[in-house]
Amino acid sequence: MKTQIIQFFKRLFLLLVIVALIDLAIGETLRHYYFKQKAGPDSKTIYAVCKMEQDVLIFGSSRANHHYVANDIARVLKHSVYNTGRNGNFNLYSAAVMEAVLTRYTPKAVVIDIVEREFEEKPGSYDYLSSLLPFYSEFPEIQGILQMRSKFEKYKLFSRIYPYNSLFPTIAINNIRANDPALDSNGYAPLHNIMKREVETRNNAKEYKIDSLKVKVFEEMVDLCKQKGIAVFVFCSPYYDILKYDDPSLEMVGEICRKRGVPFWDYSRDKEFKADPNMFDDFQHLNDSSARRYSLRCADSIRRYL
């Protein structure tokens, strides 16, 4: 039996060495081409984390991405603006990108777009952070947030391929494609449809389980900006449907901002946008023309503080 065990471990060791070498080779190749992407959401994240130098930065999810017209806001504020919003990524992503950026330079102001149910405890909400795994080794500042994905995340990252899991077709396509138009629009991505369904009164939850970690990350994000002397502005952009109850996350955001003297504008029920199908691309996102109107209003609100 002893000989068999020794033989088994020898073979296992050999297999692990082969796998580690191939993992290293493929991982490094993927890394090389990942950072050379010219289009797609990853190229936007690469730009935001590694190159961005604008004065005003906008953080948030797809709603930030489609609602804040960076160039229009820049014209009003007379400062350069970049929209880092990324589809499907919320406050945790924003916090990680912000931490990475602040190691390079200090912007003048930061706009954080918050969504309804931002702090809700949801399975899978940490999985979206996978879009930042390629930055893990080079940006120690974001390692803390990325390790929230799972307690074994740092061990999984021993693999060089793992950060690029599921990305190889995207990397290949985005290396061939032409430069992303989002680079010209400073991160803003317009939507052009109009809503096809009638407005609904949504029986949104009066209460839900709050993820205290998400709240802590948001608080730390605001505190970090204040510490560095960066002006912080928090917004909740408009929704199409009518929400029956006040959202607990938005109430908490209001409270956090009030305590810290940070301006918070809640446009989730704003009369100018609400329930108008011509203004929305879908029930969560404004279309281009209304995003421009909304951006001007936001810029107007911020202007007096800068």
């Binding site: 297999l15 796998v19 993992d23 493929i26 799972s150 391929i161 899991n165």
Partner: protein, 474 residues
Amino acid sequence: MLFNSFDFLIFFVVVTSLYFALPHKYRWFLLLVASCYFYMAFVPVYILILGFTIVIDYFAGIWLENATGRRRKMLLVLSLVANIGVLAVFKYYNFINENITTVLYGAGFENPIPYLSILLPIGLSFHTFQAMSYTIEVYRGHQTAERNFGIYALYVMFYPQLVAGPIERPQNLLHQFYEKHEFDIKRVASGLKLMMWGFFKKLIIADRLSIYVDTVYNHPENCEGITFIVATIFFAFQIYCDFSGYSDIAIGSARVMGFKLMENFRRPYFSQSISEFWKRWHISLSTWFSDYLYRSMGGNRVSVPRWYFNLFFVFLVSGLWHGANWTYVIWGALNGFYLIFAIVRKKMFAGLQTDFIRLPEWLTKTTNILVTFVLICFSWIFFRARNVDEAFYIIRKIAAFEGPLFITNPNFFFSILGIIMLMGVEFQQEFFKDKISLLNHPRAIVRYATYTLIIILILMMGVFDGSQFIYFQF
């Protein structure tokens, strides 16, 4: 604890190492403690429910063996009622109550029976059926009652198959806990290879397909016919890879320690008829129903109408076993109907001369495989839909056969690639059995290249969000 988690990898390495390091007489105890830990990783308190039925069945087994006549039957009934009772409370109470409410509401009354706020303990249906197989086999005299309480508890709690099978029989598993399993490099390697293939099916195919399937089936109002067709085909492969992947990991991890668990899947989507499908799909459950329910009702040694009823009833119960929802009942009924229809059709054509239509064998086989696959996919609509109304809505949309195909890149690409890889391997296993698979190739370089390729593919294409296995909910 989920098989597709890092926790399990650590657990598996520790338990297996300790298993071989310990003297034989302590191994059962190690496995029992490990199995309890494995189960308690989900919801710790639910182990008490398993404990309750374990105590009842343990004593029932011993008393049954010594009892005769009416008392013997009474003890069996007592054990079965306890097992089914626990399952009924946790799984069916609210479902029954909901239906009572609907009926009473229709008649203008209110239902005074309160609902229970309880969660179904993971794998309770599997545990219950395995426990029931023990008392039934002791009752039938095919199995001697187990005197060692710890070994009996281990039989119903053995971690590889505790939460999603294969549903074992005492004759196959119990005696294995007394046998000494040496470290055999060939067996260990074979178990690890099976586990690796199971992880491939779960992480690369099932969890990838679930992204598309969940998006479509959880928001049917946003999708059209062609999208539903694709989502249903994807679901067919998702549920197969999810469940058979689990079985492969279970059988493989048991094999590493020297235990031989029964086969649970045998390339079901190459079946040429529905009856063949059920001989290849979830074999441990199909044979359970066949051994303990179908044959007890007389099987096919009864009048023809009664035979049809037996078949239909067994599938109806099988549907209900899967879940407390009318969708599962319809799914079971539909499969029962398929089988009866196939028998009737065969009888009708039995006397007819069909020699004038002689198709090539490959074409007949392919047609039969495709027709069986389509029928099975149709039944999966009920299995996956959230409720009966949505299932019929989806069928209506499919019948309309219109609308754009919803594609999520690169997810769609990975989904198709995963299915092609799976079907390629299974095609070789099904039709070229004499050809040696790459995983068992005599040349070490080919074997190692295959292991490496599978691991690298898992790293590159696997979904690592720790999704639950679908069958856990049953």
